[in-house]
Symmetry: C2
Subunit: 650 residues, 2 copies
């Protein structure tokens, strides 16, 4: 059968190319790529409806390579198809077979693992940290539904990789939502890096698991073009998502790569001839003139609703709170940052149609439920599965949506690796962690966000691609007004932003008109003995401290550092006005605001800064006052540190 | 049947107690506890073989409460049984019903979620961040096998919680190893926090999934004592691990707690009488004199092999490398820190019988394979599932083992939340992340550990319970000698330690006899113009930089800061000797060493410190030199920053 012959010959041809480029690079994973040779060939030449020349086409089918290390075989196909590469439309070019020899080179778009940000827009997300691709595919598929597009999303998952729990979080999400525009192919070559794949990941177990999770699953020979063709037929037609468990051979067609452990090892250039002969042997006798036509064209593009976040006019704080039904609380003068955020999110939903919201079964704590009530179609209840939630959001972002990802700050840490991968993809994620710090008290440390500030601040120390703005902005509002405006700032800043909110309802500190900006801070109280620098809930505690110090004739300024990274020059001036002494106070572990201020001061070399963070692992207490004191950051304790700082010998 | 009646009445009694203590506390989750009333009663009064008065008994059966928020029902049983509580044997006491009213109070051992470290040794690990308990149980069960004990481990998992992928990572691990000493009970009450549990977590789906994962699974009525009794019978007899999917009622017996969403909401004290009456009603007609005898006694204790890490004598560096077969490489003068670590791990295995090693399918990259080859029974190949690996290690630690947990530094971040929960449990984990920083070059950012230093350093800013040593030590060796000695230091320090190792084989910098210590650093080159402070791979780069600066008559000291937190006083002295100027250089994102040095300097107020970290997201390059330059931390670039620092205006 002519098609089968053409697939066979093309698979061998792409295999040669994958073996050659990894040999030239001196590293890479030819054996994993070879196990996918036929599946990738069938997908990219016959199954996917797309135009290799237009990777940005809005409704074209997509391929997510979850086992990112197998990418050379895909690069081989892209070069053969003359696919467009480049970081953006301007400056884009056709990939040539010659460029494959530049795999993994500094100036090549062909990174060691898929990464659209380095210039291969055929991919939607960076992969390589395993187990995340099915979630990205879920996000892309959900986005297609929202846009009313017939796009289908194919995802290649390794058998060893399917040990990652996130794969099963994604399997639940996709089945639950009936996303039958997803097709997952499990590459069962039976070999991991350090040894054989576990029997728990055998084709038998994978099939049983996928069926138990509600998928339509079949097992095939992954090197048989006709079996592959048959397996793809139900995609988009079956009510269930389709899973294909493909038995494959690691190092298919190249005898040298099959003996012993060749995971992640390339051949030497001197071995290329032998490998080529081996691949020729593998397709010997296959009719020679099997040609492949161009891939089928993408479906007609639907008209997607998008709005530039910088072009919209926001209502006033009061109007937004009123619209969200928070008027009465506001009148009582106390409002939690998490509540004001919920109202801001609802406002954002009205103004910007591509804003979508994800939550992990805590929308009645994060108050993303305010958005859910107003825009149920754009709200994704991801249940208790934070890893899938973040990677699915990265998929939604790749499709042009602006996802707000919500959970307790503590539980977002569950997705630390997924958050970093989203940053490598330059995803436009807005993450919001509630119940941050220790002020929730009674529930204890298993519910408290204590490492979120150092974690997200670390991304803020890296510059984004424009080499000016940071890779991530961190916002830490002290009151409802600040929370409202910081939500708007998150939308106005491209790329990742993180905001931490707090549980308690607290008094308002700011005039609704107050201007907030990335990198900014507010001097709430002036003073020339020292400055207490803090953020969020602790601003209220610092104000108490300043009052205590005033009784002792110490004039302490209080600075609300609501954004990181902080404007170093402005901060230096403010600290100099405050006597050149600063005490930085946090309700979390160190490495965050205190470190940021210390780095600013240490450059100047004449300011003196003391940092005071959570002194010990918190436990349950019945009040915020008790837990602050227990952790060494109560008003009186902060005052003692301030007085000690003033007594330091020069 | 008398037993059933006794279980029924006790369940109602414990239910009243759970409702009362949460009302007194003003917070907590009575409704979740009530759904477990009969199962907890049967487990703790009839099924578990243990002595409530001796929670430290080495072979007694254990209970892991994965859905930690349901803990009040367990506290109620512990008080009724007069269980021993306290942080250690000295100072331990019997829990009284009266103390239940202190739930969540500052000075109470009864934290809002289970935490042995706060004084409830009935539990082995802190829970409350969901989805981790089954992995902890896996570690406890694996430990029992190593100790030759007949201990059985019961774990209570919520249905909503079973959406977490980690549950399925643990299900694979337990089934693969045939740990039939584990019994998992899924509490299918059908309600999460924000709404009903997904159909994907229905009893039907849970049963099918558990069977597909290789478990012996049955569905029962979780409020029927006889059904519970029958379901437990195969535990320890069946070849497969046993899973019980129990249909339960959230808020069982208390009508008020069943209408509407009562998740995490206590009743008011004024409602207690009505709730009590409702629970009496639930057991009305049950024969009144059903008494429960004491729980069955634990099996005889096996003799566990343990050795005090401080009591052993380590061979010399050379002997250890020789024994590990690294002699020839050593003779060539170059050895990667990860290889020396592998040899050190093998040595530790010989000296200390309770050292166990876990790896996630990369043992041939982390070189934990050297331990695996020598001690296969104490090596756990956890496959590609880092979350389960870390929580299982926490379980092994609770049973008295010292687990070394290995993966790429990047992939350990997958378990950020599990690592924090292990710290809340005060687990004795030693984590080692290989391929840290950017020096692996070709594989690109998806494989690089760029946030590990700020993450683990954050724990180091918190003091441990002894209020002296930090909660976590971070070690960052620059050569094979340092890696060998730092591995020993990890064993000698109680609690969590993290070491980052690097891929490249590098020249040795240290005499094998060199003394290394927690908090220490080494001045490798003296200089009085400025100090370049760095660690790990970058020490070699800093030495190149110092040579470049010497050509320009700038005398730069080079300081290898191999441990965090760093000794601030000693560092201050060293920096003053180096002209009071320091440039801190890192091959990762900020918030780590640079912040630590800046905080020391900012306290002094007369030192000047510049920090230089990875300036942008890395990509693939073919050499370490290229990626250093790409990220702005090449020798010449560091030299430029050093010269700029010396020119700063005062």
């Amino acid at each position: 059968m002519a098609l089968a012959a053409a697939i066979h010959r093309k698979a061998a041809e792409l295999g040669k190319s994958a073996v050659r480029m990894t040999a030239k690079a001196g590293s890479g994973h030819p054996s994993s790529g070879l196990s996918l040779a036929h599946i990738v060939t069938y997908l990219m030449y016959r199954q996917m409806r797309y135009d290799p020349a237009d990777p940005w086409h809005p409704t074209a089918d997509r391929l997510v390579l979850s086992e990112g290390h197998a990418v050379p075989i895909v690069y081989a196909a892209l070069a053969d198809l003359g696919a467009t590469v480049g970081r953006s439309r301007n400056g884009a070019s056709r990939l040539t077979p010659h460029e494959l020899d530049q795999l993994r080179a500094r100036d090549s778009v062909l990174d060691g693992h898929p990464n659209p940000a380095e210039g291969v827009p055929f991919f939607d997300a960076a992969t390589g940290s395993l187990g995340q691709g099915l979630s990205v595919a879920a996000g892309l598929a959900a986005a297609a539904r929202l846009d009313g597009s017939d796009r289908r999303v194919y995802v290649l998952v390794g058998d060893g990789e399917s040990r990652e729990g996130q794969i099963w979080e994604a399997a639940d999400f996709i089945a639950e939502r009936g996303l039958n525009n997803v097709c997952a192919i499990f590459n069962a070559n039976g070999h991991g890096q350090a040894g054989p794949v576990s029997p728990q990941q055998s084709t038998k177990h994978l099939l049983a698991k996928l069926k138990a999770f509600g998928w339509k699953a079949v097992e095939i020979d992954g090197h048989d073009p006709q079996a592959i063709a048959r397996a793809f037929r139900p995609v988009g037609k079956s009510a269930q998502p389709v899973a294909i468990v493909a038995r494959t051979v690691k190092g298919w067609g190249v005898a040298q790569l099959q003996a012993g452990n060749w995971h992640g090892k390339p051949l030497s250039e001197s071995e290329l001839a032998e490998a080529g002969a081996s691949l020729d042997q593998a397709v010997a006798g296959v009719e020679p003139d099997g040609r492949l036509p161009a891939p089928p064209k993408p479906p007609a593009a639907a008209e997607a609703k998008r709005q530039d976040p910088l072009s919209v006019v926001w209502p006033s704080f009061g109007e937004a709170m009123e619209a969200a039904g928070l008027g009465p609380m506001l009148a009582r003068g106390k409002l939690a940052t998490r509540r004001a955020y919920g109202a801001a999110l609802r406002t954002a939903g009205e103004l910007i149609p591509q804003v979508v919201v994800l939550d992990g079964d805590v929308s009645n704590s994060t108050f993303s439920e305010m958005f859910a009530a107003a825009f149920p179609d754009r709200f994704f209840e991801c249940k208790i599965a934070e890893q899938n939630m973040v990677s699915a959001a990265a998929g939604l972002s790749a499709a042009g949506f602006i996802p707000f990802v919500n959970s307790f700050a503590k539980f977002l840490s569950r997705a630390a690796d997924q958050i970093e991968m989203a940053n490598i993809s330059r995803a436009n994620l807005k993450l919001v962690g509630s119940h941050a710090g220790i002020s929730l008290a009674a529930d204890g440390p298993s519910q408290m966000g204590l490492l979120d500030v150092p974690f997200f601040r670390a991304f803020g120390t890296v510059r984004g691609d424009d080499r000016e703005s940071p890779l991530c902005w961190l916002f830490h509002p002290a009151d409802a007004v600040a929370a409202y405006h910081c939500t708007r700032l998150m939308l106005e800043q491209p790329g990742m932003c993180y905001m931490r909110t707090h549980r308690p309802d607290m008094p308002l500190l700011y005039d609704p008109q107050t201007r907030f900006e990335p990198g900014g801070f507010q001097v709430l109280v002036g003073g020339d003995d020292l400055a207490i620098v803090t953020a969020g809930y602790m601003v209220h505690v610092a104000l108490e401290t300043a009052a205590l110090l005033a009784e002792q004739k110490v004039r302490a300024a209080v600075i609300d550092a609501y954004a990181l990274p902080i404007d170093g020059q402005r901060l230096t001036d403010a600290l100099q006005r405050a006597g050149g002494h600063a005490l930085v106070v946090e309700d979390n572990y160190g490495g965050g605001l205190g470190s940021a201020v210390a780095e600013v001061a240490a450059r100047v070399g004449s300011l003196r800064v003391a940092t005071l963070c959570c002194q010990r692992i918190p436990k349950s207490t019945r009040s915020a006052e008790e837990i602050l004191e227990y952790c060494g950051v109560g008003p009186a304790q902060i005052a003692d540190h301030a007085l000690a700082l003033l007594k330091w010998p020069r």
